[in-house]
């Protein structure tokens, strides 16, 4: 299959991570881990970022504000805002220390307050219509990019689509899921038609609904993760008429370095071209990892012009996703 000739690209990207962080040892002391800290450390984790007195909407605002300011983008030029959240409560507007409370039932209007609309208003993105996208777990931002790209291709009058992902764990939640340690964070990308940078060559996604209950099917998930990841990477490369050797850099989602060591072997990709620098530093920032890693790799000039970049993500639901860009 020939490479898809699209000029849609990521014109700008940004992220926001809370300044507050905790080490694995501190999390263990606070009883916020399931596994021992030393085990997770051997898997490649070290610290996580934790929002303090900031909601996911606050994080999203900061990420978008930075994107607009740094790239001198007029918010009025944005046509669509797609807000993607990994967790169910990410689709609500709430105060910090969120917990599902009975008060919501007393005032049903609280169930209809959405982050996408709040961002659109508070950031002056007044010309944009909004879309909320979910049920993709950590793959939500990839799906937002996919939908944004498709809208840009199919609707002539749409020129700029802003995709935002933001999640904050509840204060009382355990910060470990299937041997991965989770951070709060937000990422934002601006997709444009006729971009001369970060052109999207191909996007792929596989959903396997059998694993919808990730808790019940955790061991089956672990067993399926590697072969399905390998398959989607292979299929995505084929779609783009590329081989793994053509990829200059692999931008991961920040699951454990240990699982990446195994997957890199499976797909035959050299570790020296893998951007794993943020796994220990930031932990797994749910939906924002790939954008955080992509921006850092670009800013530190690890990614050069015309480089082919493969981004991979996995999200509960479950979904495996892959994007190939040309920088």
């Amino acid at each position: 299959m020939k490479r898809i000739n699209s000029t849609v690209g990521i014109k700008a990207l940004s992220y926001y991570l809370p300044n507050n962080f905790k080490t694995l040892e501190e999390l263990e002391k606070d009883k916020k881990l399931i596994s021992k800290a030393k085990v997770l450390k051997s898997f490649g984790f070290n610290k996580v970022r934790i929002a303090k007195n900031e909601t996911h909407v606050d994080l999203a605002k900061k990420a978008v504000k930075d994107l607009l300011k740094t790239n001198d983008i007029d918010p009025l030029e944005i046509d669509i805002v797609i807000f993607a959240g990994a967790m169910n409560h990410s689709f609500m507007v709430y105060e910090k220390n969120y917990e599902i409370k009975n008060s919501l039932i007393k005032n049903p209007m609280d169930l209809f307050k959405y982050p996408a609309s709040k961002l659109q208003y508070e950031l002056g993105i007044s010309n944009a219509s909004v879309i909320g996208l979910g049920q993709q777990g950590c793959s939500s931002l990839f799906s937002a990019i996919r939908v944004g790209r498709d809208i840009l291709v199919s609707e002539d009058n749409v020129k700029n689509v802003l995709c935002v992902s933001s999640d904050v764990f509840p204060d009382n939640a355990i910060r470990e899921v299937v041997y991965n340690v989770l951070s709060d964070g937000a990422g934002a990308v601006l997709l444009t038609k006729d971009s001369n940078v970060n052109k999207i060559i191909v996007i792929s996604q596989i959903t396997k609904g059998y694993y919808w209950d990730g808790d019940l099917r955790q061991n089956e998930l672990i067993a399926s993760y590697f072969p399905t990841a390998r398959n989607i990477i292979s299929d995505t490369l084929k779609k783009a008429d590329l081989k793994i050797e053509d990829i200059d850099i692999l931008i991961p989602h920040n699951v454990s370095m240990r699982s990446w060591d195994i997957l890199l072997e499976l797909i035959g990709f050299p570790k020296k071209r893998f951007y794993g620098q943020n796994i220990a530093k930031n932990g797994h920032s749910i939906g924002a990892d790939n954008i955080i890693n992509l921006k850092d790799a670009i800013d530190s000039k690890i990614i050069k012009k015309d480089d082919l970049v493969l981004m991979f993500n996995f999200g509960f639901g479950v979904n495996w996703s892959c994007i190939i860009l040309e920088h």
Binding site: Y179, G209, S224, P227, T228, R258, E265
Partner: protein, 377 residues
């Protein structure tokens, strides 16, 4: 013509019952079998033999003795033992514990210790004409390269079963006064005539892991043959070599060989294809086939599971470790003795001719948990 009588052990086992059925058709006057509990297990054997086409009249040859091969004098009374020794002219020793997870001492007690008792019986016989021993090609352990039928070399073992069988063969080689022939089989996958699985072993456990979406990866070389054996061919071959062309002092490899086997890669692919074919439920789950990886990658995964102390995954890795190391070994079992003495008397089938039926049986019998009628042989 003087009477010949066979004493066969392990007749309730997956392979032993086939050999019992074959032996009844031979010219033995009586066929003695040893059972720990007389009634219940023999009903199962009888039902199997009748399905194999044996008539009640033929089954009358079977003489059941209540005993235990691990005990002195096989747990028989003095009179019974002397009588057995007097009458027995042929011994086919198939009894063994094939559980890979046994502690070595336990495996030895049954496999080596039990054989010692049978050797004692053979030495007590008035006139022993043939002693056949059912062994395994995996006495080769961790050896690679071409394994000759006469080889018996210790280079380490992957599980206690193969080590105990190795030690048993060594013991038998010391018995110069008994005419011994050894039949080494590879892993039985099913009956080529119907797909029936006589005993669910390590291969079926691994297949079940795959079926249930719990097989994360398989260490091995994609091009290595996946050595799986047809129980019908295997037992016809053993029967011919033991009952019709017995040669003392010889060892035979009874295997499919690479020309009648899938490669490991094809084995995994075809398994997935047949799971899809025979189970719509499986199809809907979208379970991926496990990738074939090198041993280092598998061990890295294993290390992670151990560190994480994931109990379910640990159990899965444990099951796999009893045999998967063999998949990474490049081993070929020479069959010169078998080719010469068996020739084309018994026809071998490529596993592709019956593997779909085996998978169908596995799924429909719920991996051996319920009865499933295969098509009539």
């Amino acid at each position: 013509m003087s009477k010949t009588n066979l004493f066969i052990t392990g007749s309730s086992g997956a392979i032993g019952r086939y050999l019992l059925g074959n032996s009844i058709k031979e010219d033995y006057d009586s066929v003695f079998i040893l059972m720990r509990s007389r009634s219940d297990k023999f009903d199962g054997i009888r039902a199997f033999l009748k399905k194999e086409g044996l008539k009640d009249q033929q089954l009358k040859k079977i003489k059941i003795m209540n005993g235990d091969i691990t005990q002195d004098f096989l747990g028989l009374t003095t009179k019974q033992y002397k009588d057995l020794a007097k009458k027995t002219t042929h011994i086919l020793h198939c009894a063994a514990n094939t559980n890979f997870s046994l502690e070595l001492e336990t495996a030895r007690a049954i496999n080596v210790g039990g054989t010692k008792q049978i050797i004692n019986l053979a030495k007590s016989c008035d006139s022993i004409k043939a002693f056949g021993y059912l062994s395994t090609v995996y006495v080769s352990g961790k050896r690679e390269g071409i394994i000759m039928e006469n080889d018996l070399v210790n280079t380490g073992f992957i599980n206690s079963y193969e080590q105990s069988k190795f030690e048993t063969e060594k013991l038998l080689r010391e018995q110069t006064e008994i005419p011994v022939s050894v039949y080494r089989l590879s892993t039985i996958v099913g009956d080529s005539r119907s797909g029936f699985v006589p005993g669910f072993n390590s291969v079926h456990k691994a297949l079940r892991l795959y079926f249930e979406g719990l097989a994360p990866m398989v260490p091995g070389l994609p091009s290595n043959p996946a050595e799986l054996l047809d129980v019908f061919y295997a037992t016809e071959a053993v029967n011919y070599l033991f009952n019709k062309n017995f040669v003392s002092g010889k060892t035979y490899h009874i295997v499919s060989g690479k020309n009648y086997s899938y490669t490991l890669e094809d084995f995994i692919n075809e398994t997935g294809k047949f799971f899809n074919k025979h189970s719509s439920t499986w199809r809907n789950k979208g379970i991926e086939k496990p990738p074939i990886v090198n041993m280092e990658t598998f061990q890295l995964f294993e290390k992670s599971v151990i560190e994480a102390n994931d109990k379910v995954m640990l159990g899965i890795i444990k099951i796999m470790n009893y045999f998967v190391p063999h998949l990474s070994l490049t081993t070929e079992y020479d069959t010169s003795n078998t080719d010469k003495d068996l020739g084309k008397v018994v026809k071998r089938k490529h596993v592709q001719d019956y593997y779909s039926d085996v998978i169908n049986y596995c799924i429909n019998s719920k991996w051996g948990k319920i009865a499933y009628e295969t098509r009539t042989i």
